[in-house]
Symmetry: C2
């Protein structure tokens, strides 16, 4: 029986684990894999206190910091399938069929890339349709590429493509781009970029590989075809909350509802980071919120006669 099981492998899980160790909680961290969503970033300039670090190096630093804690056990390769409450304790079941009991749970499972859900997307996944610009930009040397999504993720994908693509279309469904001003300026200053606003992506075309994209002008309702060799889908992330969807309250977007201490609707279960309703998803925010949750968990565990 653990005091605390932390589910996840990103900054929130690592931060929570470090603080659980400070409190000598008998803790298990269950992670599918380590590093979180930003593990694919080439250059993170906003991990506070560090001017520049790759996502990979940051994930190593987080994992090393966590593994240095004696009272914390870490199991990777364990994707959690579900969490069930029995009286005053919880059973955490993994997809591999392992089962662990604990007094409290911290859900720090983060989010994953959102998909368009249009014809051609699934069929051409990995054949020109990609979701990780850092990973796949080098495959498009000298090519024409469409980036779908005008938020930070889309803008950053465009920038990732600068050294490779000959021509980049940036398609944004609404009337304005949404990302950081700095990043917008960087994108606008490159003559190889064409920004298409009010452009709703309708279909990705191609037989064995992507050859084009159809979008609708949301003003005129006219459809246009772009000849492209690749489509980068960068329309945000969805919370990895499936494992607790029958246990705790979620909002309509699937985010776990939490209060300012990370408490969910179920006593004994906390959540922190991108999986929650807390606004603005950032590595440092996830870490700070997970720490606050663990300090609250400690306070809960040492309080006598709870139940």
């Amino acid at each position: 029986m653990y005091d605390l099981i932390i589910i996840g492998g990103g900054p929130a899980a690592a931060a929570g684990g470090v603080y659980a160790a400070r409190k000598k909680l008998n803790t298990l961290v269950l992670a599918d894999q380590f590093g979180g969503q930003s593990v694919v970033s080439q250059d993170i300039q906003n991990w506070i206190g560090t001017r520049s670090i790759s996502g990979y190096d940051l994930s190593i630093a987080l994992e090393q910091h966590l593994r240095a804690q004696e009272s914390v056990e870490v199991k990777t390769g364990e994707r959690v399938a579900s969490v069930a409450k029995h009286d005053d304790k919880f059973t955490v079941m993994t997809e591999r069929g392992n089962q662990f009991e604990t007094k409290t749970v911290l859900v720090a499972t983060g989010g994953r890339r959102r998909k368009l859900g249009i014809p051609g997307e699934k069929e051409l996944d990995g054949k020109g349709v990609v979701y990780c610009s850092i990973c796949d930009a080098p495959l498009f040397q000298g090519k024409t590429v469409a980036v779908v999504g005008g938020g930070n993720a889309g803008l950053e994908a465009v920038i990732d493509l600068f050294p490779y693509a000959n021509k980049i279309y940036l398609l944004q469904r609404s009337a304005a781009l949404k990302g950081d001003a700095v990043t917008q300026e960087q994108v606008a200053s490159n003559p190889r970029v064409s920004v298409l606003l009010n452009a709703a992506t309708k279909e990705i075309i191609g037989d064995t590989v992507v050859t084009g994209l159809i979008y609708e002008d949301t003003d005129t309702k006219e459809q246009h075809t772009l000849q492209v060799d690749g489509v980068f889908v960068e329309i945000g992330s969805i919370p990895n909350s499936e494992l607790v969807r029958t246990l705790v309250s979620l909002n309509p977007y699937g985010e776990v509802e939490v209060d300012s201490r990370g408490r969910t609707s179920v006593s004994g279960v906390w959540a922190a980071g991108d999986v929650t309703t807390m606004p603005y998803k950032q590595n440092n925010i996830a870490a700070g919120d997970a720490i606050r949750a663990v300090l609250d968990i400690y306070s809960y565990l040492i309080t006598p006669q709870r139940s």
Copy 2:
């Protein structure tokens, strides 16, 4: 006219400044000095992603990260005296008599050490009464010392004294120690430490230097005198909220009341870190909350027709 003035020099101010720069906000950071309260810590093991760093080195890292941001101006040696609202803008006045105008304010002024307010404390300040265990422990080589306060700060002061003091009394007003279990065990395992519970410190005695301390047993109401050469006062911190006390709502402890985005009772003013009502004061929590506040400030600034 700045978009944003950040007041403070700790992790919250640095984190806020880095994110303000990402959003290209015309930002001024006004800091009395850099580093925050943990600048005096010899070995911080819970700054996430870094297994061990001194408070001084962390403060340097934070300041360098902040100063690397082009759109952020940093002025140190400027202690803010007050913040006043005029229509839709704010005037920030410093003790030096300088004055700056801004559209928004982030209060990230942290906290400072709480004092006992008992006879002898002020008179013997610096003559055996000390508030910074890391700084002053080496002065007590071979001496007998009392540490007042049974929370983390007090426990850590005891540990700081291990290499130096011959005898350490730890006085806690209530019936139990309050700090981390790990730290409590470390303290309990040292035979040179005597823990005195239900011990209310009443007076510090000495002519030119500390020679003793009087405490009351809160059960029996009896007074006892300890012969000590030093008194380490470690009873927590108080929020540095004086500069906005007539502007925004504070709770009874003087903390700035904020919602989960760091919004205060006054539109245009946010707060983050130890100066706020947010529970659990930690460097990473302060950084995360300041980032969330700045992203909310950005959203406020780009929203048209506010007023």
